[in-house]
């Protein structure tokens, strides 16, 4: 009797230890894969990279938690089926919303549209007065407003009639809360000065804070390239260099 209880107790302790080990391993794997993915995604805008890292981390944690729950002896088959169905339902229900949200991330970098621009799309034309996560709001010449889903800018042809749109370059920048914003901004400006020859010198670079989160500051570095054909190359190169500068500052802050 006593040996049976002892065996049960040992089994429980073993299961709890395994569960703890799985959770610890999940944590390590999520961090490791997150760091690797962040490094791989260096050339893409930091906001997009952040979202991808968060998605990967979430996926790893779901797998880890399912394995951990399995150690408690629960049947996971039904749970898995329910989660898959819920996931598919969520994606189907929110596919339009998701496509607009994802398109917003691309706008400004790959689709050159900013608030204040004058553009034409889908037979409508006017001044952009707002770009939110779902749509771009255009104030038309007759005073009415048109709401264009962001996904349309990725799928359809739009014409930006703003004279400098072809040369304007807005690079999103995410500065960790541990790094001094004034110092980071100064270092970023010094970095951009090195590319002076490829930029329109009548428009010196300006850094603007867009959003202030609890753990980071999201901003934008606005430049005007001298040659529109170099816009994409310069954007890619500067994005990588900016990441290097910020990584260095983060390292120093730690």
């Amino acid at each position: 009797m006593i040996s049976l209880e002892l065996a049960n107790l040992t089994d429980v302790v073993l299961r709890i230890a395994t569960l703890a080990a799985i959770l610890f391993l999940t944590f390590v794997i999520a961090r490791l894969f997150g760091a690797i993915l962040r490094r791989v995604l260096r050339p893409i805008p930091p906001l997009l990279a952040d979202q991808a890292v968060k998605a990967l981390s979430l996926f790893i944690w779901i797998i880890g938690l399912l394995l951990a729950v399995g150690q408690l002896g629960l049947n996971l088959d039904l749970l898995m089926v329910l989660m898959v169905i819920a996931g598919i339902a969520l994606v189907v229900a929110a596919r339009d919303v998701l496509s607009n949200v994802i398109s917003k991330v691309f706008m400004g970098v790959f689709v050159p549209v900013k608030v204040g621009d004058y553009l034409a799309i889908d037979g409508l034309s006017g001044k952009v007065i707002e770009i939110n996560y779902l749509a771009t709001i255009i104030l038309m010449d007759d005073g009415s407003i048109a709401t264009i889903p962001n996904a349309k800018f990725v799928k359809d042809v739009s014409v930006n009639k703003t004279s400098i749109a072809s040369r304007r370059l807005s690079i999103p920048v995410s500065i960790k809360g541990t790094v001094s914003l004034p110092r980071a901004e100064a270092e970023l400006l010094k970095l951009v000065y090195k590319y002076k020859a490829h930029l329109d010198q009548r428009f010196p670079p300006i850094f603007t804070v867009k959003n202030r989160g609890s753990s980071s500051v999201e901003g934008e570095l606005d430049l005007l390239v001298a040659d529109p054909e170099q816009r994409e190359t310069l954007s890619r190169e500067l994005t990588v260099k900016i990441k290097e500068v910020l990584d260095k500052l983060e390292g120093e802050a730690v």
Binding site: P182, A186, K190, Y193, R202, F203, P204, F207
Partner: protein, 453 residues
């Protein structure tokens, strides 16, 4: 209304090493001229009485004044106003100071072939430091705003122009531009860069009417206001005869000397050399003319400020010039004068001169008028707009030594003219009173806070 004010020049400079390391000080417990001095210069001289009056008349409840003060306690209070000292590292401070000085010259038109334009300057590595200083100010104001919930941000002077854009809030922001803003000096291709910063403010106030149009032509789309600078007349007391005698004795001024006073920081733009050259011509006919220069460097250019000590170099040049023109005993440099001695200098002088090559306004002329002194004012100074030539003073071309010498001689030789002109000046100065300034400022701030169209 809770008000946040930001200016580069701090109201108070601390003298004691011990105080500099403290987190908080009540300045009223300290002794002026031993523990601290008030910064000379138009901006603080104008803003401080304005804030005091606004508090007295309950137009504001809480006021925070943020300024660059690397050697001051982090926070201090004086007469109910709270001060926050911005500090930046020495390397950034040096870079900031260098860009700021060049900008000051650019907007005053004091350029030569080697001077970079504003757009070139904005690509210099030092510009990143200039930017850094403004970002630190904006971050400081934003942090204070979390606690104080300000109703209005009032930013002063050209060095702080980017602060408004960096504040990243839709709360009302007003900017006061204190130096010249002249479209003849500011080329159109600077407009997009300047307008980006100016347009972050709901309203911009300038000191002279002529600057309003230039501001619009250079791309500003907000509300523009013109308010003449102002001073609190009550701060200017009549010194006793003993004080005036002590001043004269200290600077070797004889009773029969005709004293020409110039109160300005030691900077080539202020035209001390012009005054000396005009004196050299005038002294041939009026040998008892004596010129007294009061002032040292600005907050940036004095050894006790940001340490860009160009004032000493300029004084050396002026001394050599005076010696070469045989005026060694006719020119006196007093350096910085505490309030009491400055009162004595105004009282003792017979006439006042401001020969600036460029000058945002020139409140020192108003100070001379308060003491009933006739003035000779450069046509390049903003205040020339309200000098009635021949009645309240003489408006002269700063590049024409003969014209200035003539004005000096005319006044030096005619005591009655000096008295009449001084009396007319005493009446003219009313337009520069703090009461009028307060009324106009209050109207602007009300317009902006209430969003009047």
């Amino acid at each position: 209304m809770n008000l946040a004010v930001c200016s580069q020049t701090p109201l108070v400079r601390f003298l004691s090493e011990e105080l500099k390391s403290m987190d908080f000080v009540d300045v009223e417990t300290l002794v002026e001229n031993r523990d601290y001095i008030f910064s000379p210069g138009g901006v603080t001289r104008m803003v401080y009485p304005l804030l005091l009056h606004m508090r007295t008349w309950r137009m504001v409840e809480d006021v925070w004044w943020v300024s660059l003060n690397p050697t001051a306690p982090l926070k201090f209070t004086l007469n109910g106003i709270k001060f926050y000292s911005v500090r930046v590292d020495n390397a950034s401070l040096k870079g900031y100071g260098s860009v700021k000085e060049q900008m000051w010259r650019l907007f005053h038109g004091a350029v030569d072939e080697s001077t970079p334009s504003l757009l070139e300057l904005a690509w210099f590595e030092d510009y990143a430091s200039f930017n850094l200083y403004n970002r630190v100010c904006a971050e400081t104001l934003s942090e204070l705003d979390k606690e104080e919930d300000f109703d209005l941000f009032y930013i002063h002077d050209f060095q702080q122009l980017p602060t408004g854009l960096m504040l990243n809030t839709l709360k009302p922001k007003v900017f006061r531009w204190h130096i010249p803003f002249n479209e003849k000096i500011i080329p159109p291709d600077w407009s997009p860069f300047l307008a980006k910063f100016f347009n972050a403010y709901e309203a911009v106030i300038v000191s002279c009417k002529s600057y309003l149009e230039s501001l619009v032509k250079r791309g500003y789309r907000g509300r523009t206001y013109h308010i003449y600078p102002y001073i609190d007349f009550k701060e200017y007391r009549r010194p006793s005869k003993a004080e005036v005698d002590a001043f004269s004795e200290k600077y070797n001024i004889r009773d029969d000397d005709i004293v020409v006073l110039l109160v300005a920081r030691l900077d080539p733009l202020k035209g001390h050399d012009i005054a000396i050259r005009a004196l050299a011509r005038a002294v041939k006919r009026c040998p008892n003319l004596k010129m007294v220069f009061v002032g040292d460097g600005s907050f940036s250019s004095s050894a006790g400020g940001l340490g860009l000590n160009k004032a000493a170099a300029w004084q050396e040049k002026l001394t050599r010039l005076a010696e070469s023109l045989g005026l060694k005993d006719r020119v006196v440099f007093t350096g910085y004068l505490p309030r009491g001695e400055l009162d004595a200098a105004y009282e003792r002088c017979d006439l006042f001169i401001l020969p600036s090559r460029a000058e945002g306004f020139g409140l020192v002329v108003a100070e001379a008028w308060l003491y009933g002194k006739p003035v000779i004012v450069s046509s390049e100074a903003g205040i020339a707009e309200i000098v009635e030539d021949g009645k309240t003073g003489y408006v002269v071309n700063p590049h024409n030594y003969e014209e200035i010498a003539e004005a000096l001689i005319r006044l030096a030789q005619n005591e009655k003219l000096r008295a009449e002109m001084g009396e007319a000046g005493r009446r003219a100065v009313e337009v520069l009173s703090i009461e009028r300034g307060l009324k106009e400022e209050a109207e602007v701030l009300k317009d902006v806070v209430e969003g009047a169209s």
